[in-house]
Symmetry: C2
Subunit: 429 residues, 2 copies
């Protein structure tokens, strides 16, 4: 049974705080294992990759091949149904259109002191994309990671993906073909992330690594943050649905289950102002679970991490939602705009009754790689900016340095940095 | 003696690669110490802070006081010279003006499928600023960190700074007063970073932590990345100066030394196309060093990490500079614009002979917190964006979900996620 809270209860503040503070992230101490893997790949390169792949994925890269060939990707795309191909192409086109609007503007101008000041954005040279094998091998994730890099103007995109027992998901290859990825390595885990960061004889190093993965992959990215750029520290997926009694309980139940079915650690939380509606949604969830092919995961996740929070009204709900800073937030009410105006922290917000979160997972356009575990307090979904960097620039002439140089000399001297002061003072003579 | 390389030499490629790959970052294994400090502060809060402060900074917080009072800051500002106050105020005004232009634009619109799509930026609730004590207690750094947070709209800014033996730099307090900081805690080191991230009874937690520090502080920020947002993984400062023979060797020598004097691990590199000029700069550096109050640091840094690279021409230099991806790049040539067009990776670029890097450290306006250690390949200087996050949003009506919903259903089914499919399909009935 999921947690059930009522804001009218005396113990509500403590119980809600416990919900906010509950950690759903793997407490597994993988950091030592990962650190050893990174060191070994850095020292031994491809030999370490081959060894780890034999051990964890049970195939010999020197037999099965290190790379997926373009011909395999073309064949995979030709092998899927027309409907699916159309769906992938619609998704790619819409994601591209949304991300095009994220491209930052350069600036350049001369101010009243005669100082020229500006900023110039440019793409990183190379991006590495991790694509999981197994349960979480999602072509939609591939598109969501590659397209922002493409829009940013990244010229080289290298993908890594584990192929357990040599098998690879053809839908992922079809998506790779649509996204135009030409470099795909059949390696996974922390070792693949290390190869992308440090480079090996076969795999040239990249500048930024993005993409979802298990606890080892996430920890590898965290440890290599600074050697390369990374997208974010990602945790289990989550949704908060704010819904009034005018919604169809079946719809809201499906929305909650669309997170629960991801992983046993996923979290789905309903906020509602109506007890009977809360009961109806809870009943609909129980009815729907057995019909899902993902029922085992969904049932575990809903029972362990699901919650229904009964509030007096939605003005009371919104500050509570902000404390959760959810990855996904559905506002299924008559006037979602009014509630959205009160939201400070959320990764992505789905406005109104006809906007289920899943439409954003696939085809709406915004990125589905979003901050989890309350990180929407300080971070944003994946974007074009994650694949770009900004160079500031300035230029002074004789008049400009006379205008602002003396202040620099005064501050440098006060900070005890005489060469700083001299480099300006010499030009003022 | 600094390294001297000539691109005409047969061993140049290998020698330059060695220069690029040389690590100047502390190899000291502080990660275990830091991890223990973080755990203890998380568990014991203020008691741990008091204990570490007694041990490392040699004063008792319960006697000397936990916080710096607003009165102390006002007194510090009143105690400095008018020139210095004017310089700080000019710096603050110019830094504010530059960062105002970084404020991102929200987006909101309806596309041809009838889908409303947008993105809304908002500030984090609270930012924590680390200000070092001792050698690197720079009021300029304080301004460079606080002002972007203020411009972003952060409502709470909490500063931490160690006060070894109870002493605090009055110039830092004066800058804090100018920047309007009202919350200053007299704690430093990894323990202060932990307090900002986790919160204690006295210090409420923040969402983003920025500011320079020693190896312990840097490692604490790295380990807490994900619990909070951080500015960047920072390493020793560095400058590359590209200069032709028309420059005054004394000016260029001072520019090189303005990095060398920061820290023994700092790096200054000159690229020039003229042997005699290279010799003249080298001689000027040797002449200037003994005159500096920072001569011991500058001499060590220049000898250990300095380099002069002789190139045939500057078109040859620019790809080499890009491999270094320097924090600071001075282009002291007749047509700096032409060289700047070739730069792909640099934190900040200083165009022309009258633009010494030090002017950017203090009063020009762009941020002086910049990526080091080749990280300009993938990251940017501190900006308003580091204190903001973006929430994407979308809204579909019945017509829009009929336009794009079927593709979402197809993809969800292909990915084996039936609740995702159901949440859309139910709304299509």
């Amino acid at each position: 049974m999921p947690l059930r809270l009522d804001s009218r209860d005396a113990d509500f503040p403590a119980a809600f705080t416990a919900l906010v503070d509950a950690r759903r992230e793997a407490d597994e101490d993988v950091s030592r294992d990962v650190s050893a893997i990174l060191k070994r790949v850095r020292a031994e390169g491809d030999a370490a990759l081959a060894d780890y792949t034999a051990r964890f994925d049970r195939h010999d890269l020197n037999v099965s091949g290190w790379a997926v060939t373009p011909a395999e990707c073309r064949a995979a795309l030709e092998g899927i149904s027309g409907d699916l191909r159309d769906a992938l192409e619609l998704a790619a086109a819409r994601i591209t259109a949304y991300h095009e609007k994220q491209k930052p503007q350069d600036s350049d101008g001369v101010d009243s002191a005669g100082v020229r000041l500006g900023a110039r954005w440019s793409a990183v040279d190379a991006a590495g994309l991790y694509v999981p094998g197994g349960r979480a091998a999602y072509p939609s994730s591939l598109l969501m990671n590659v397209i922002p890099a493409r829009v940013a103007g990244v010229s080289r995109i290298a993908m890594v993906t584990p192929t357990p027992d040599g098998e690879i998901n053809p839908l992922v290859l079809a998506a790779a073909q649509i996204a135009g990825i030409e470099e795909i390595w059949r390696v996974g885990g922390a070792q693949a992330v290390a190869a992308l960061a440090y480079g090996t004889d076969r795999i040239r190093p990249v500048d930024v690594i993005t993409g979802p993965g298990n606890a080892w992959v996430a920890e590898a990215k965290r440890q290599l943050y600074g050697v390369v750029g990374i997208d974010m520290v990602a945790g289990p997926s989550e949704i908060v649905v704010v819904a009034d009694a005018k919604n169809d309980p079946e719809w809201i139940a499906a929305d909650l289950l669309s997170q629960s079915e991801h992983d046993p650690t996923s979290q789905s939380i309903l906020f509602t102002d109506d007890t009977a509606f809360a009961d109806a949604v809870a009943a609909a969830v129980e009815r729907q679970i057995p019909r899902l092919s993902t029922h085992a995961v969904a049932a575990t996740s809903w029972a362990a991490n699901g919650a229904i929070v009964l509030v007096r009204d939605f003005d009371e709900a919104m500050p509570l939602v902000d404390r959760l800073a959810p990855e996904h937030l559905e506002l299924a009410v008559d006037d979602p705009e009014a509630l959205f105006a009160q939201v400070r922290h959320a990764g992505s917000v789905f406005l109104g009754r006809m906007t289920p979160e899943a439409v954003g997972d696939y085809v709406a356009g915004p990125n589905h790689v979003l901050p989890t575990g309350r990180r929407a307090r300080f971070s944003s979904g994946l974007s074009v900016l994650d694949f770009m960097k900004r160079t500031s620039f300035l230029s002074l002439d004789q008049s400009a340095i006379h205008a602002i140089g003396p202040a620099a000399v005064a501050l440098a001297r006060a900070e005890g940095l005489p060469a700083h002061a001299a480099s300006v003072a010499l030009r003022l003579q």
